[in-house]
């Protein structure tokens, strides 16, 4: 039992490391060069924090989100914005997990994805966190409340695009496995 747990932890660590590199690379080298309608920059790197196992310690979640944000920051040339926004998501993610997920989901330490849970549980979690992230990000980036509604429009459109992208990636890249437990 104990060795199984350790194995799962090791697997989590390796998988997390792989996810980190792949998602960061995808964000930096593909999505940062892509501006939809000149306005919307999809930010898939949030997905890395969203799909961390539900029992990840809070401090680890915070540090990982800061590191992820900082990595994207360094390569996108505007240092600090992504880190600030994603660290905020790292703070409030446990709260949203406890709001949206059932107690059984939290206890089994699963990775939030369509494969593990129903879309109706997964979608509100993704949408709310992505919206909050974009809200913080664009607020910091624009730093001006004079054009509030234009900013809000950008936030909403970017949220829709990022959410769609996360759903697509989730659907194609996370393997559907048979649930044993």
């Amino acid at each position: 039992m104990n060795s199984q747990k350790t194995l799962k932890m090791n697997k989590d660590i390796i998988l997390g490391f792989l996810h980190f590199i792949l998602i960061a690379a995808f964000q930096i080298f593909v999505l940062n060069g892509l501006n939809i309608f000149g306005y919307f920059n999809p930010m898939i790197y949030i997905w890395f924090i969203l799909m961390l196992p539900t029992n990840t310690p809070k401090w680890l979640g915070l540090i990982l989100s800061f590191l992820m944000g900082f990595t994207v920051d360094i390569f996108s040339g505007q240092v600090g914005f992504h880190a600030a926004a994603l660290t905020f998501i790292g703070l409030i993610r446990p709260l949203f997990i406890s709001i949206f997920f059932s107690g059984k989901d939290i206890q089994t330490n699963l990775r939030p994805s369509i494969a593990e849970m129903s879309l109706m549980t997964f979608l509100p979690y993704i949408v709310s966190l992505v919206f909050l992230h974009h809200f913080v990000y664009f607020t910091i980036e624009i730093f001006n409340f004079s054009e509030f509604f234009l900013t809000l429009l950008r936030i909403v459109c970017s949220t829709i695009i990022t959410t769609l992208l996360i759903l697509i990636c989730d659907f194609f890249f996370i393997p559907k496995r048979k649930l044993s437990h």
Binding site: L62, F66, G80, F81, I140, F143
Partner: protein
Amino acid sequence: MFVFKIYYGKTNTFFIYHKISYYFCTTKFVFMRNLIRFLKRYSYIFLFIFLEGLSIYIISQNSFYQGSAITSFANEIAGNVNTKIYNITRYFTLGSSNEALVKENARLRSMIESSYVKYQHKTFQYNDTIYKQQFEYIDAKVIQKTINKRNNYFILNKGRIHGVTNNMGVISPNGIVGVVVNVSSNFSLVMSVLHQDSRPNIKNQRTKISGTLIWEGGDYSSGKLVDIPSSIPLKIGDTIITSGFSQDFPEGIMVGKIKNFKKDKGTGFYVVDIKFSVDYNKLEYVYIVKNFFKEEQVELTKDIKNE
């Protein structure tokens, strides 16, 4: 022996641990224990604050706009707080600063001259050799003025005791100003050219054709010329000067420049808009023109009038 050692070690550690927790559980250290528990439980919040602060610090260091906005926000808060503190603390130094001010006042009061009456007045004379006419200029300062009414006046700080009389012309370094219409012993009232009844005689510097300057109200920077015959062509930008035909002004005082003009078909005269060379809003120092031969000239024309 080996078994005992392990057993002993285990007991010992357990005992020590028990002792420490007991130590912290006593009522004396209840606060301490709660604090530690609190810090342990919410340590991730401090971590969050640290990381978020780090991000914002990086932003403020690297992005100019956000950095300056954060700095100015901080400055505004600091400035407000400093002002409030200063408003409170300055009452404590009020006594000593009052004393210093009273001393300063006494010193300055002994130095000023405006409390004394001035008996000597400077006058400036020059001889106009061409016309053999002598003008005297009295310098004066505008102490009150209007420019935005239909009929505008100036009040100057020179009066009868300085030699000012009615119907003297007033000019400024930039050009014509008006005519003295009323004199008291220390002050004089000047009807400016921005007045219904002001009709100084002027001429075009280039063509020497003379006319009359009037002002129809409104914009204080532009006036109108009438009585200029339309037979002689004008140009936009022509300089208008005083003609010297009236006794109030010497010849050649600047009036303004032609802005635009049109022919009045009914009368055969031009209607000309000019821009004054003097900004009457900024007018401060002027000269009162004293014509020594004025009475002689008036005497000459008196018979014509009486006819």
